[in-house]
């Protein structure tokens, strides 16, 4: 493995995008150091990584907190995401071979099955992953990293937001984008990507607690391997094994019946 601080940064990132660490939550050095069983310095390095990623904010002499983006910043993030995905769409519409389209369709199909099976958590994750698969097909690792970062930030946004509108008309956006792109109707596809994101962001209402604020110790306990204090939080919130990858996030009630994970 690389460095300890990277490992811890990864866990914190995971906890944030799982909505277990919510915006504004204090990331105290001493507390985290104790939780992870490392020195304060390692924690600090991990937090620096999070801050560079836009997931944490460091205030001098006050410490680090899970980032709490403003509505303005939320819109900018979605704008940037739209721009990136539209650009990738343009590239794919020219360059993608049959295998690529097939992979995308297969992914959508898997998600559809998950929805049909009522496995909301899985559907949620697959809905997010679609966008990553999409970008991965551009075969540009730099672009992938940028996109992944933006997606993480949109996921963070969803922690402090209630999306109280009808998601149903977004359900088929993914497959429609694929169809349009493969047919070469790029402009239409790009518009769809735009409205897709726009309708998501329009539904946002901020300044309203959506996810419960857990203490860092509660929030992080499911991710700790050895010394798992088998607290309540670990057993009833985490779980859901799929494809060898653990899926910790279970969307809360207000997102359950929808395609909420979709940026």
């Amino acid at each position: 493995m690389s460095s300890r601080s990277q490992a811890i940064a990864d866990i914190l990132t995971r906890a944030i995008i799982d909505h277990r660490l919510v915006p504004g939550c204090k990331l105290g050095e001493r507390e985290l150091a104790e939780i992870f069983g490392v020195s304060r310095i390692v924690v600090r390095q991990a937090v620096i990584r999070l801050a560079d990623d836009g997931l944490a904010q460091i205030e001098r002499n006050r410490g680090a907190f899970v980032a709490k983006p403003s509505m303005q910043e939320a819109m900018e993030i979605y704008d940037a995401l739209t721009l990136v995905e539209q650009g990738v769409a343009a590239q794919l519409s020219e360059r993608l071979g049959p295998g690529g389209w097939a992979e995308l369709r297969q992914h959508v199909e898997r998600q559809r099955q998950a929805v049909a099976a009522g496995n909301d958590a899985l559907a949620d994750v697959l809905g997010q992953e679609f966008h990553s698969v999409f970008v991965r097909l551009s075969r540009n690792k730099v672009m992938q990293d940028i996109h992944a970062q933006l997606v993480r930030r949109t996921t963070l946004l969803r922690s402090l937001i209630t999306a109280d509108f009808d998601y149903c008309n977004l359900l088929d956006d993914h497959s429609r984008v694929i169809d349009l792109l493969e047919k070469g109707r790029l402009k239409k596809a790009m518009e769809l990507i735009d409205t897709h994101h726009r309708s998501v962001v329009r539904g946002y209402i901020m300044d309203r607690a959506v996810f419960p604020e857990l203490s860092p110790r509660e929030a992080l306990s499911p991710y700790l391997a050895g010394d798992g204090d088998k607290t309540d939080a670990a057993s009833d919130k985490a779980g859901a094994e799929q494809n060898g990858a653990r899926i910790y996030a279970i969307p809360p009630a207000n997102l359950r019946r929808t395609q909420a994970g979709d940026p």
Copy 2:
């Protein structure tokens, strides 16, 4: 000021984009700590920031080095930059008001004057800045940060590259892009952005030392405020005061007569 490690990361970044610290250069903790007069830990934190930015590579138990991107990665970076700037162009063509176009033209004009005056160093910087101004007009800070990071990485690339082709036909690309966009000829403008970057990257020849490898101490001496050991490197390589901002980079001979700073 924010943190000490951030300040040091900024200086190192500056030194890298000024081609004073070249790819592959070892960033030893002890050495840098001594140079900056801080503890090793602060240096490590700074280097983590650089690594997150793609400007350094950290190898476990071996230390940090200025990043040495492969040709593949170089092309991906330019592809990503193209994608971003095309996207911004599309936004600006719809949304930008007269004041914005004027600002862009004014910037180009300043660069033209610098070229005419033979101030290659300034022209170089202005050529780079144009792209940043362009993106700033999108009024999206998130996008700006992503773009700035990509520009830094292209600048890093130019450290290990010789651009031995004719830049002359790129000289007016900026103003042509402005003209096309203002006239609503978006597609043409996007093509021009693409060919602009493509012709730059096509001229690259890698695996050839372009900039001399200085020791970190030599490379960093111009940036240190107080304890400036007035070594030779400081006096003959750095300087050039302009607009209140110090411009340390003087392009070497092979880039001098061109618009080399242009990503």
